[in-house]
């Protein structure tokens, strides 16, 4: 995998060569390499030492993944073998088949228990829904707080901000009861009793996550930098308020929106506590909860579990590879940069 974080590389280049004309990326890289080579002679020892520290640590970081991927293609017998098998002699897809519960399973495999491909579909559906809805509603609120003046704005904003201090665990328990008593859903009457409400439903997973005070705050910071004149110009041209938000403000906030979306997706995909507590039907679980409960029920089927783990990790790696530039920028956008 060749993963370069362009913005960082570019920034490096500009610090070593302050007043060079605009160069193509390749030229710049070439010059940097040349500069490094010039450096090499003086600090060869230091460099060697650096590698001697970095490489073993890198191996420690990579090895568990290598094992995970290798084990996901092994039959259960070689997983438990000693010494451990790093390269499977006879790679098999049984683990994947078993965990996804697709294709024909032999009797021995049936005895191992099986997962459910729906867990991944559920996770994808829930994570994408939360990401799209939250990014939209966060942006809507952030825009209003940043650019509109109306009675009550500051009161509402301070209320939003203040609750950023309330940890999720405090609202988790009451929310469980609230979700259970949503009127007209899951067999509930209008008073919210009689059924199970949004417990064990995708609504219960998605709805509490569609706004985040933290996200609103970060987006608002970003939107404050948009000049008011731009919005006024659009207003004079006869654009409606929603049109201004959609066609003027949103396109200008793409980096911040991307950062918000990436972090939301990551958090939603990984979320464990909330789905663990409210979901109960085996076919409605999300991937993390499915994995966790699978371990409890099939304690020895590690080959299936490793296969499931690889599948659960893939979307994150994909998102990272495709959007890694935004990851780094996201850290800058969210004000983390020192």
């Amino acid at each position: 995998m060749s993963l370069t974080e362009e913005s960082m590389v570019e920034r490096d280049a500009s610090t070593t060569e302050p007043d060079l004309p605009v160069l193509t990326r390749r030229q710049r890289r070439k010059r940097r390499r040349a500069a490094e080579r010039g450096h090499e002679k003086t600090t060869l020892k230091a460099k060697l030492a650096t590698y001697l520290v970095l490489a073993p640590i890198a191996i420690l970081f990579i090895a568990p993944f290598a094992w995970l991927i290798s084990a996901s293609f092994q039959p259960i017998s070689t997983i438990f073998s000693s010494p451990p098998t790093w390269v499977p002699d006879d790679p098999t897809l049984d683990g994947y088949k078993g965990f996804l519960d697709v294709g024909e399973l032999s009797e021995a495999q049936e005895a191992q228990g099986h997962g459910d491909w729906r867990w991944f579909a559920n996770s994808a559906f829930v994570a994408i829904s939360i990401t799209v809805l939250q990014t939209f509603f966060n942006a809507l609120c952030a825009y209003v707080f940043a650019k509109r003046r109306f009675p009550g704005r500051n009161v509402i904003f301070v209320l939003f901000l203040g609750t950023m201090m309330v940890p999720g665990q405090v609202t988790l328990i009451p929310n469980y009861i609230i979700i259970q008593h949503i009127p007209f859903f899951g067999g509930n009457d209008w008073t919210g009793s009689g059924g199970h409400g949004w417990l064990d439903s995708y609504f219960g997973l998605i709805m509490p996550g569609i706004v985040s005070a933290f996200g609103i705050f970060l987006l608002r910071q970003y939107m404050l930098s948009i000049p008011d004149d731009l919005l006024d110009a659009a207003r004079i041209d006869g654009a409606g308020e929603f049109r201004i938000f959609w066609s003027v403000v949103l396109p200008l906030c793409t980096p911040a929106l991307a950062a918000n979306a990436i972090f939301t997706f990551q958090a939603a995909w990984e979320d464990f506590f909330w789905p663990l507590v409210i979901m109960s039907s085996p076919d409605k679980l999300t991937a993390p909860v499915g994995l966790a409960l699978f371990v409890v029920q099939n304690e020895t089927s590690w080959n299936l579990l490793f296969a499931g783990s690889v599948i659960a990790t893939l979307p994150m790696i994909l998102v990272f590879i495709v959007l890694q530039r935004h990851f780094v920028r996201g850290i800058a956008v969210t004000g983390i940069k020192g």
């Binding site: 993963l3 974080e5 970081f61 509402i156 609750t163 940890p167 328990i173 509490p208 783990s309 020192g338």
Partner: protein, 312 residues
């Protein structure tokens, strides 16, 4: 005091009120935009918070219809609950060990990677990989690595003659928490490394050059330039790290289930037990507020950090 309002003042009041109404009407689209956010927020945050406070004064079981008011009983119980005290101690132990370790290793790696060497991107990716891995996957993978009979740790440690007998990582009462900490550090180092790298790259190179001219060695440069210049980054990572660590749950649930003998029962895990194993929502809510209290200092600090970034 004359209570009767003169016609003129009444007029002013009315016109002010009308002006207010007119402003609300003119900006009606703003309220409309806020509506979905405010509804969700009122139900799942504001109402939930008030309900949580209400719960702490009741014995509220999901399975029993009777939910009596018990006054401060829950709070009193909590202060006399030995397992609760143990959970606080465990949580502080976990935080105190994992946060500084993660930050130190992250800083070290960032400084090494900030040099002009080849393969930086590859190293960075390697260290960042655990961060993008779903936490549940990391926890389960490490649970296997720690396995007493088949785990890779024991195998290689035995083979290297570092230990003589296989270690029962997660079921030894003195080893369980360090094992969980180690896994947490592994999965968090990449994040602090990336943040520190961003911090390092914003330090002006001139500072180092002039220090070099003044004859400062590498260690002095690190101590007098790098460390002080990274203070905002360090503060940020510290606050974020402490907030996250005090809420530790997933790895405890998956790797140790709070055992052995409560040695890894953290505050959130203990709260989970009371809410969803013993079904006492009132007591569980009280436990959640204890956590809230501990977090308050740090979330306050966090809010100030973000406020400051607003000024820039």
């Amino acid at each position: 005091m004359p209570t009767a309002v003169t016609p003129a003042r009444k007029d002013i009041h009315q016109s002010r009120f009308r002006w207010f109404l007119w402003r609300v009407w003119r900006e009606r689209s703003a309220y409309f935009f806020l509506l979905p956010g405010v509804i969700i927020f009122s139900v799942f945050t504001l109402a939930a918070l008030i309900f949580a406070i209400y719960l702490t004064f009741h014995r509220w079981s999901i399975i029993e219809p009777d939910k009596p008011y018990v006054g401060l009983q829950n709070y009193e119980d909590m202060l006399h609950d030995e397992r609760f005290v143990q959970s606080v101690v465990n949580t502080i132990y976990f935080t105190g060990a994992s946060v500084p370790l993660t930050m130190l290793i992250g800083l070290g790696l960032a400084m090494l990677l900030n040099q002009p060497i080849r393969g930086r991107a590859a190293f960075r990716t390697a260290y960042y990989l655990p961060v993008i891995t779903p936490f549940v996957v990391s926890a389960l993978l490490w649970k296997w690595l720690y396995n007493g009979d088949f785990g890779l740790f024991n195998y290689y440690l035995l083979k290297g003659h570092i230990i003589d007998e296989p270690l029962l990582w997660l079921s030894d009462k003195n080893l369980a928490m360090p094992a969980v900490v180690l896994m947490t550090v592994w999965s968090g180092v990449g994040f602090s490394m990336v943040v520190y790298l961003a911090g390092l790259q914003s330090i002006p190179a001139q500072l180092y050059e002039s220090a070099k001219i003044d004859g400062a060695g590498v260690l002095r440069r690190i101590w007098y330039i790098t460390i002080p210049m990274l203070r905002p980054t360090t503060l940020f990572l510290l606050v974020i790290g402490i907030i996250g660590s005090l809420q530790v749950f997933t790895q405890i649930f998956l790797m140790t289930s709070g055992g052995p003998v409560n040695r890894t029962t953290t505050m959130v895990y203990y709260m989970y037990l009371w809410a969803f194993k013993y079904y006492d929502m009132g007591y569980a809510s009280t436990l959640a507020f204890a956590l809230f209290l501990m977090l308050l200092v740090f979330t306050g600090l966090q809010l100030r950090l973000f406020r400051r970034s607003e000024a820039i």
